[in-house]
Point group: C2
Chain length 310, copies 2
């Protein structure tokens, strides 16, 4: 089985001044995640490593670099899922955690639950010794400035989503050499969101889903729209019905546009190693590695290629 890793850095109208940093960020995360697979590591390990790299990069709205809610606070959401057993861990609206994806993994591995929210998620983090970071270390000066500029505007309105002041989510999907798939998604959500707003990212079947029988998906875009159509599950249902990874993604994103007028993107990998990175927003930074070739893009239909050292 030939290992595959795909990452995204969010589907939105990425402004030119963030374009290069976004592409560099997804390329780095994809290489780091793939190196886990190359060493024989599991798909779950690989997506966690890739998403941690994206969370640690302040250009992306997840972990460091997260957006601020209506009250000027950072509330983070993440999910991780193991396609072998459907084991899943998720956290929603958690504060002061640098790598929510690793906390989500701890929920999966150390509790009998799937999702912990808010203070409960923070209490659990404390109980297992995951250290907290001050809010200010997670917030960039850029974000503080943008938030000040826009804090009097309504948010969440779909019409606003494809403008430059929306901001979005990171994710990864992987197929390991044992044939197992996994996904992970992490986000700071939408700028100016209501306190306690949970978007699609930590919600199983919406922000992500992984099943060895059909594949792994991580989604990004207008969270409320993704929730309404359970986008990750929808894409995998179409794959189960015989569609290719690209067709399934395009049809599902099209359905989301038609039915609830939402834009977004998705990365997918199938158990046979087919993968896709698809979006209906203006841009999505994505990168994929298979057989030591790095593919990446930002604009629609852009598909660039680099050979990695063997």
């Amino acid at each position: 089985m030939s290992a595959v890793l795909v990452v995204h850095g969010g589907a939105w109208a990425i402004p030119d001044e963030l374009a290069k940093a976004s592409v560099d960020g997804v390329k780095t995360a994809a290489r780091e995640g793939f190196s886990v697979l190359k060493r024989g590591g599991s798909a779950v390990d690989a997506v966690e490593v890739a998403v941690r790299a994206l969370e640690d990069n302040t250009v992306f709205d997840a972990g460091h670099g997260a957006v601020l809610n209506k009250d000027g606070e950072v509330e983070l959401d993440a999910i991780i899922m193991d396609g072998r057993t459907l084991a899943t861990g998720a956290v929603s609206s958690v504060k002061n955690i640098a790598n929510p994806v690793s906390l989500a993994r701890a929920v999966m591995e150390k509790t009998s639950h799937v999702m912990l929210t808010s203070q409960g998620a923070n209490l659990f983090a404390e109980s297992i010794g995951i250290s907290t970071v001050p809010t200010e270390t997670l917030v960039t000066e850029y974000e503080r400035r943008e938030w000040e500029k826009h804090k009097n505007y309504m948010t969440g309105v779909i019409e606003d989503f494809n403008t430059q002041w929306a901001h979005d989510t990171v994710g990864a999907v992987a197929l390991d050499s044992a044939g197992n798939v996994a996904c992970a998604t992490s986000t700071g959500g939408i700028r100016n969101k209501m306190v306690g707003r949970v978007g699609d990212s930590p919600v199983i079947g919406c922000g992500g889903y992984a099943d060895n029988l059909s594949g792994a998906v991580s989604c990004t875009g207008h969270g409320e729209s993704i929730l309404k159509v359970t986008l990750a599950r929808l894409i995998l249902s179409k794959i189960e019905q015989g569609k290719s990874v690209t067709e399934a993604s395009q049809m599902s994103l099209q359905h989301m546009g038609d039915r609830v007028k939402g834009a977004g993107g998705a990365i997918v990998v199938s158990p046979s190693g087919h993968w896709a990175a698809t979006f209906t927003t203006e841009r999505m930074a994505w990168a994929a590695v298979e057989q030591d070739v790095l593919w990446y893009g930002l604009d629609p239909h852009e598909r660039l290629k680099e050979q990695l050292p063997q």
Copy 2:
């Protein structure tokens, strides 16, 4: 279009001493919900009224009668979804709210978000004038006693779920005379759950889903298992592929048992008015009204009938 309303009071090993009260409770809620449809009300109105009746009944684990978490607190989850537009509102881990389903409806109608969690959900409730109730008004003496008895046991373990001290969820699905479907689900979760644990009930595609193109579902049972297979969405996917409401429910519950060893139940109504109430737990209290006939049951294959006044 002939209106249909179906409710459940939770799928678990309902002990004999709660059997009559559970059946009486679902029959009353089904009649109240159906009376909304009979007056020409919407499916959304009907499922809200039915679930409020179940929340107000202390025999069920939702609103009044909710179970206690590890810290002896009540944390409530609910969802409501309108199959016409896929509009959805959900709250997770909210405290001191007597009717979480109505708060979920307010999220759907008064915010641009789908889900609010924990303190954020309570802040929103306060902002729109939904009054809070003291925790003690939500907790029965029976629950306080059961919690004291079991608080030292681990919870959430699947093997424990089919025993008498687990406790579960209420829900309703409806088809109105205009051909629109809706669902609602509400719960206090699993006794002794970790603080901040979110089960399937408020999660779109898991505890419930409604789409005029395929039908409406409300699920109950082992929350973590329902989440892992996105049970509500799975049932509707099978209906989209041509299965009957009963086949789709049975196949999906069977899949959940095979894949993640979870037991549960579901109520379903299709846009053409076909409905089902199916479960793999020992018992599920359910009731349905169509054309002034009330159907109800508790044990497997039990299907009793009463004529309602015209």
